[in-house]
Symmetry: C2
Subunit: 129 residues, 2 copies
Amino acid sequence: MEDIGLLVLGHGSTLPYNKALVEELAGMIKRKHPGPVRTAYLNANDPKIPEGLMSFAGTNVRKIVAIPLFLAAGVHTLEDIPRELGIPKGKHVGVIKIDGRDVEVTCAEPLGVDECIADLAYRRARESF
Amino acid sequence: MEDIGLLVLGHGSTLPYNKALVEELAGMIKRKHPGPVRTAYLNANDPKIPEGLMSFAGTNVRKIVAIPLFLAAGVHTLEDIPRELGIPKGKHVGVIKIDGRDVEVTCAEPLGVDECIADLAYRRARESF
């Protein structure tokens, strides 16, 4: 798995909180994954997604998996992010050149429904009881 | 806690996935909480937040805690949602009338950084390895 790069994607925001969250979560993911981990943003923050892909130069990855830090699928995860990643419409995998080599690019599903999200949300609620 | 109502809030979307996620997570939260649980949306879906608040009519809640299903703080959680909830600017609690009685309204923090989000994101990534 050392040859798989992870590109952790945030929505981006004019306020600092989205970028801070994405960077902290990427730091946690880095401790789980043996390959390189980078971050990028759809809007408002840098690096944008194309620069994020190019930030794997020099790493020898053969594949990049984008991880959209979005709760649900929507226009951002179904259209905007695949387009920015260079994944052809209707396909799940694109190919880009990094350091002159072909590198596969694909995108993970958004976080989605999971009991851990419900637990965390209810914990946040109880802080306000 | 039977007299605390939870209003689970989604961003809303023209696609069906955000509403489906919010409803499923609200169902999970309902199994943890002894009081009434409702849902509402900032944009695109119904009920909107004011209607969501009014949906606690007949429940005898003395307090409503909104749970924004958003990962990070931002303009939506800091400005748009408190405004729709009727929480005065600069305050953490508002008061609305339901069934002729005063009901406190407050808003929980967004989900934020948590190891469980990093675990879930990395699980989604591995599905694409």
